[in-house]
């Protein structure tokens, strides 16, 4: 076993660390306090990050991207998330769908969509799966129930498909220029046999973004409704086969979304590092009656636990990233995602306890806790855990 990083990996890690420290951290709390959920995004910051390569990290080199390996991707996500978890996610969301384009699109589609994506610092990607009537039904589709899951309807009309319906909670739904969309093209078949994957540009006639959701934390990263009223999408934008979304959409043919799982765990690692840094800073500097907080046993125990959990997560994240690079696909990606939920929440809560013991209830500590809530839904809810468990059991 060799735990050393390569020169290139270290260089990207340092670049991300510098960007997080100099550009992200200074605006993180300010962005968190923007009351209007539509105004939380900072385009200037995003463009700066894009110019440094943090938007196109995952696009293969032969298509003009950086084609970085999974270990480097994990390192960058963690460093950016140490500055601000939601800002890191805003960048890595583009990688998630870059992976998908590279894995499942034809060369003609790659030419049509990857080229403009690479050329434009404000080109953001998204994917619409969840709808008001179904989240879990799409994540873990019930067998043989055609009524469950995706309801956004697509009907063929010559060289076009006519889309009607809506998507909800879609990441980058109001700002992305290109979306992957799960569309019900056979209402009589179960989800796995009745859904087609489309690529839908933002300027498609009949599509408009709806409400931007007002989240408790992760405020920089926007989620919106997407509304389709007789939206016309060319047949040439169908990805893979009609009714084949669940066969072709995954970049990982062994099952499971290998990047998405790693992504949340690597992001959690960065937030944990931020919590550790803040916690130990308070423990070293805060004094009570002339005595540094770090001399208190209960503070030492908390610091030890925060670091133990964070380092365990780091080991697991890098192991999974390394396995992905070696094309070893196991349930570990899902497990590390599940695991990151407990870790991010406990570590950020321990930091808040240390701040409380210092007598300073800090809004930065509170933000880390609030940002960590969303893991309960995205990474560690019962459905995400059962999905992974079923893969192990089968």
């Amino acid at each position: 076993m060799d735990f050393r990083l390569t020169e290139e990996q270290l260089a990207w890690q340092m670049k991300a660390r510098k960007f997080a420290l100099e550009e992200i951290r200074p605006v993180s709390l300010e962005r968190d306090r923007v009351a209007d959920p539509q105004q939380t995004f900072d385009w200037e910051l995003f463009k700066k990050g894009s110019r440094l390569g943090f938007r196109t990290t995952a696009v293969p080199k032969e298509w003009g991207g950086h084609g970085l390996d999974f270990v480097t991707q994990a390192l960058i996500m963690a460093e950016l998330a140490k500055g601000d978890s939601a800002i890191s996610k805003a960048f890595s969301q583009c990688w998630k769908w870059s992976h998908l384009i590279a894995a499942v699109c034809t060369d003609e589609q790659k030419t049509r969509f990857l080229r403009p994506f690479l050329a434009d610092d404000t080109f953001v990607l998204g994917k619409g799966i969840t709808e008001p009537s179904g989240g879990s039904d799409n994540r873990l589709p019930p067998d043989n129930d055609p009524s469950a899951g995706v309801k956004l309807r697509g009907v063929r009309d010559g060289d076009f498909w006519i889309l009607n319906g809506e998507k909800a909670f879609i990441a980058n739904g109001n700002i992305a220029k290109l979306f992957f969309l799960d569309v019900r093209t056979n209402p009589h078949a179960p989800l796995r046999e009745g859904v087609t994957l489309f690529l839908v540009p933002r300027d498609t006639p009949g599509f408009r973004p709806g409400k931007v959701f007002n989240k408790s934390g992760w405020r920089f990263y926007q989620n919106a409704e997407m509304i389709f009223e007789n939206a016309r999408v060319p047949h040439a934008n169908v990805i893979g086969e009609v009714n084949g979304a669940y066969k072709k959409s995954s970049g990982d043919t062994s099952g499971g979304d290998i990047f998405g799982d790693l992504e949340l765990a690597a992001n959690a690692l960065g937030l944990c590092e931020a919590a550790c840094e803040q916690g130990i800073g308070v423990a070293r500097t805060a004094k009570q009656a002339g005595k540094p907080l770090k001399e208190q046993q209960i503070v030492q125990l908390k610091i030890g636990r925060m670091y133990m959990l964070t380092e365990a997560l780091r080991s697991f994240v890098l192991r999974v990233a390394c396995e992905h690079d070696q094309k070893i696909h196991t349930a570990n990606a899902g497990l590390v995602m599940n695991f990151s939920t407990e870790i991010i929440q406990e570590v950020s809560e321990l930091n808040m306890e240390i701040c409380g013991l210092a007598g300073s209830m800090d809004s930065a500590a509170e933000k880390l806790v609030r940002d960590s809530f969303i893991w309960s839904h995205l990474a560690g809810d019962a459905v995400q855990r059962m999905k992974v468990a079923r893969r192990i059991i089968r």
């Binding site: 989240g135 989240k215 992760w218 929440q345 806790v369 809530f373 309960s376």
Partner: protein, 404 residues
């Protein structure tokens, strides 16, 4: 005898408050624009109505015009109120508890005659206490045995033959400060080991209030900084220092008291009720989500947490009302209020997070109340003494020693 039955009066109190919350508090408290806003203005109309049904003065004895609600009854009421809105509950908790302490225990007859009639007759008359010790060295944090005198920010000097006190200084994070008409303030006096406690009406020249925007990170309700600038307080506004341990009495209105725990319980119950209701409506996987084992067991865990938290709070409140139950060994001779404090905070926080998870993505959206329940319980878990330092206090009391 082991009797867990509430009295008719307690049940009646609970039902009246539950109806009031359903009709007058929840509809305003849970409006989506209020939930989405970063500011959460106090529901003044509901607060006034609460006063009209006697909740502002509920803890004051009957002979002094109140309802003589004991600690357990107050906990029941505060839970009901907090299930609708923890801010209203926190404001009424402080005013009614301080009302009881002042008018039934601490004030002399002349002071009572001076302040009680207006307190009883004016629905807007709230009380506040600037008695928490200031600074990191004392009340907050783990070194709670620090010097209290050095940390007090407000100080006073006696002046003249008629013993006017001149008070200068400021108190931070004072609950109810923006509403209060009368403050009880602990004040350092040069040359004295112990602080003096004095009554300072809001309209005393030299008193100014600055509402604090970050107050919500610390406690529920409304709070602010109270500044005293050459504030002349008559000598007869002093609380008689020969009375029982004033600081110990005032601990019942400090953050983390059993009454704050009752507020936490209300937050947990609101989250629990929301999750159970939603789990019976939402269909995924071909059936109501409550029928899925994963959700069913989660709801059971929430119910277990909230119910055990209630048992801990009620037992601590009962022990406060009935010292004889501890004296004869019916209840263990343990600091039940502190034990409850350590259990309730984390249990309710966990319950609110579990409840939010039942809602999926809606659990983290500001236009639904779930995120509010999590944040509200987080505030209570960290207000005043946290769980870690409360455990240190328990350890001292178990063996009767004092940490150096």
């Amino acid at each position: 005898m082991y009797n867990l039955q509430l009295t008719q009066e307690q049940l009646q109190f609970r039902d009246v408050v539950r109806d009031f919350v359903a009709q007058d508090v929840r509809p305003s408290a849970l409006k989506s624009d209020r939930l989405e806003s970063f500011d959460r203005p106090l529901l003044i109309d509901a607060l006034d109505k609460a006063s009209q049904i006697g909740l502002r003065t509920m803890a004051v004895s009957e002979e002094n015009g109140g309802a003589a609600a004991d600690s357990l009854t107050r906990c029941i009421v505060l839970e009901e109120l907090a299930a609708g809105d923890p801010d209203i509950s926190a404001v009424l908790s402080l005013t009614s508890n301080l009302g009881h302490l002042l008018f039934d225990r601490l004030l002399n007859p002349a002071q009572r005659d001076r302040f009680l009639p207006e307190f009883l007759s004016d629905d807007h008359y709230h009380l506040s206490c600037g008695c928490e010790e200031e600074g990191n060295d004392t009340r907050l944090g783990i070194l709670y045995h620090g010097s209290s005198l050095a940390a007090r920010v407000a100080s006073a000097a006696e002046q003249g033959l008629n013993k006017q006190w001149v008070v200068n200084g400021a108190k931070q994070n004072v609950l109810n400060a923006p509403l209060a008409r009368l403050f009880i303030v602990s004040v350092a006096v040069p040359g004295r080991q112990q602080p003096v406690f004095m009554l300072i009406p809001r309209d005393t020249p030299g008193v100014s209030i600055n509402p604090e925007t970050k107050f919500r990170l610390r406690r529920h309700g409304v709070g602010g900084q109270v500044t005293f600038t050459n504030c002349h307080v008559p000598g007869d506004h002093l609380i008689d220092p020969s009375q029982a341990d004033l600081a110990a009495l005032l601990a019942s209105v400090e953050p983390g008291s059993v009454f704050d725990q009752a507020i936490d319980l209300g937050i947990g119950r609101a989250a629990y009720e929301a999750a159970v209701e939603y789990a019976q409506i939402r269909v995924q996987g071909g059936k109501r989500i409550i029928e899925h084992q994963a959700i069913g067991t989660k709801l059971a865990e929430i119910a277990i947490a909230v119910d055990l938290a209630r048992a801990a709070v009620w037992r601590a409140a009962h022990a406060g009302d009935h010292p004889e139950a501890t004296a004869d060994g019916s209840l263990p001779n343990l600091p039940l209020d502190l034990i409850s404090r350590c259990f309730v905070g984390p249990a309710v926080y966990r319950a609110t997070k579990d409840a939010a998870e039942v809602f999926g993505a809606m659990g983290v959206m500001r236009d639904m109340p779930l995120h509010k329940y999590i944040s509200d319980s987080l505030v209570l878990m960290h207000s005043g003494n946290g769980v870690s330092d409360t455990k240190l206090r328990i350890a001292e009391l178990l063996a009767g020693y004092k940490r150096s």
